[in-house]
Subunit: 229 residues, 2 copies
DNA sequence: CGATTCCTTGACTGACCTCAAGTGCCGTGG
DNA sequence: CCACGGCACTTGAGGTCAGTCAAGGAATCG
């Protein structure tokens, strides 16, 4: 019953807005679910029947063409909301980038609860507005930025989103939840180009990449410059 | 007082959700305003203090780099909502593409009214979700599509958004509210590339372009093919 | 310790951009 | 009504950046 009470994202997800009895109502419909890295939660073109919250892990939203080109449209971290409430089929897939835990509802269940919960809708609105801001920032990147700028922007964005702390010298280290191919899909580039830009940033001393998925930002200001700010 | 009662978008804008007395309350804060083509309503980086509805005309949201590259992030038609409620400075400009009429509120006024109006927030949420869908569709275009595909997609999207009707042969004619430069900024291309793709589509018989801003879609299926669907 | 997978690097190609010169449209004024 | 000028668009030639194809190297797993 009170799976919600112990939920890791209880304080930050949209559910935070609900009173205890409403939580209870919602939790009756919710299913906690584990997804393994690489597993697909929703298929492109499915009549979008699932919505939910990310509890743990990282997932991506993506779309692809008939001929196999893939673009990542969004990235969901713990306490982020995924899926499309209020009836539209979204041509997007949701795939886990790491092992993940999500809390899902059928869209109809969620819609019904949301309709009568202004605070819930308010939270969801705020979150959607933030998603929109982020999507537009990314449109700008995809439309106007060069390959180096894209990679540099991505690394800075990652550092912020993962909340990676700076040490006393301003050096920031963190682990990416992405492989190169996945980075390429976010940035609208190819894996080779991403790789080349990373070596370029490395040889110019702005970052280091001690292991495949580890990134160290050595010179944040320099990297911001390279990102086109 | 009841400027709202005569409003052209009364039935379709988010205000549609409000009861008469709430409308009255909101209308006390609203300012109807004319904008001439090319005029800027909000400057990039302004502490976003304005929100509102488009009553007539077409406007664009855009962002630009220090060195002058411009990307259009969204297009607002009559009954669309513009601006960013709930306190964030959005690094975006709003510019009129045609002469336009808008109904504006200060963000704080709007926020205050919205907080106590669940139906209003619900409408706004739906609209924001649609904007997000559209932004993501455009991310895909910018990240993965070729120049011809982008232009073809744009023309199809325009025909739909402007509600251009097909005649008995399936031919669709309409006038763009965009010049070539503006199209280029939407599509993340240069004006020359846009121009070349249009000639390409023209010579392949999919469209015609009898005057600068007039487009005729001769073969919708063919154009969809060219758009990469 | 081998096998697989992921990443890097190189050589080449090609799509789009840049720069530059037309061409046609449209309003203005004769 | 036509001549003119300005501006938006088109077209061309050449360059550049990212993509493609292909091979080699490094990490991770059994």
């Amino acid at each position: 019953m009170d799976a919600c009470a112990q939920c890791a994202v209880r304080e930050s997800a949209i559910c935070h807005s609900l009173t205890d009895d409403k939580i209870a109502e919602l939790s009756r419909h919710g299913h906690r679910r584990s997804v393994r890295r690489g597993q697909t939660l929703v298929w492109e073109g499915d009549e979008s029947l699932l919505v939910g919250n990310v509890i743990e892990g990282v997932l991506k939203l993506s779309a692809s063409t008939w001929d196999g080109r893939d673009q990542t449209l969004g990235i969901a971290y713990p306490s982020d909301f995924i899926g499309r409430p209020f009836g539209t089929k979204s041509r997007q897939s949701v795939v886990a980038l790491t092992d993940a835990e999500v809390c899902t509802f059928t869209r109809s269940d969620f819609d019904a609860v949301a309709q009568n919960n202004p605070p819930l809708e308010h939270k969801l609105l705020q979150r959607t507005l933030m998603d929109l801001d982020h999507a537009r920032q990314w449109m700008f990147l995809l439309g106007q930025k060069s390959a180096v700028e894209r990679v540099a922007t991505f690394l800075l964005d990652m550092a912020d989103r993962l909340g990676a702390p700076a040490d006393e010298d301003g050096v920031i280290a963190f682990d990416l939840p992405f492989g190169r191919q996945e980075m390429a899909e976010v940035l609208g580039l190819t894996i080779e180009t991403v790789s080349r830009q990373i070596t370029k940033l490395r040889t110019s001393g702005l970052i280091d990449a001690p292991s495949r998925r580890t990134v160290v930002i050595l010179d944040r200001d320099g990297l911001e410059e390279a990102a086109g700010y």
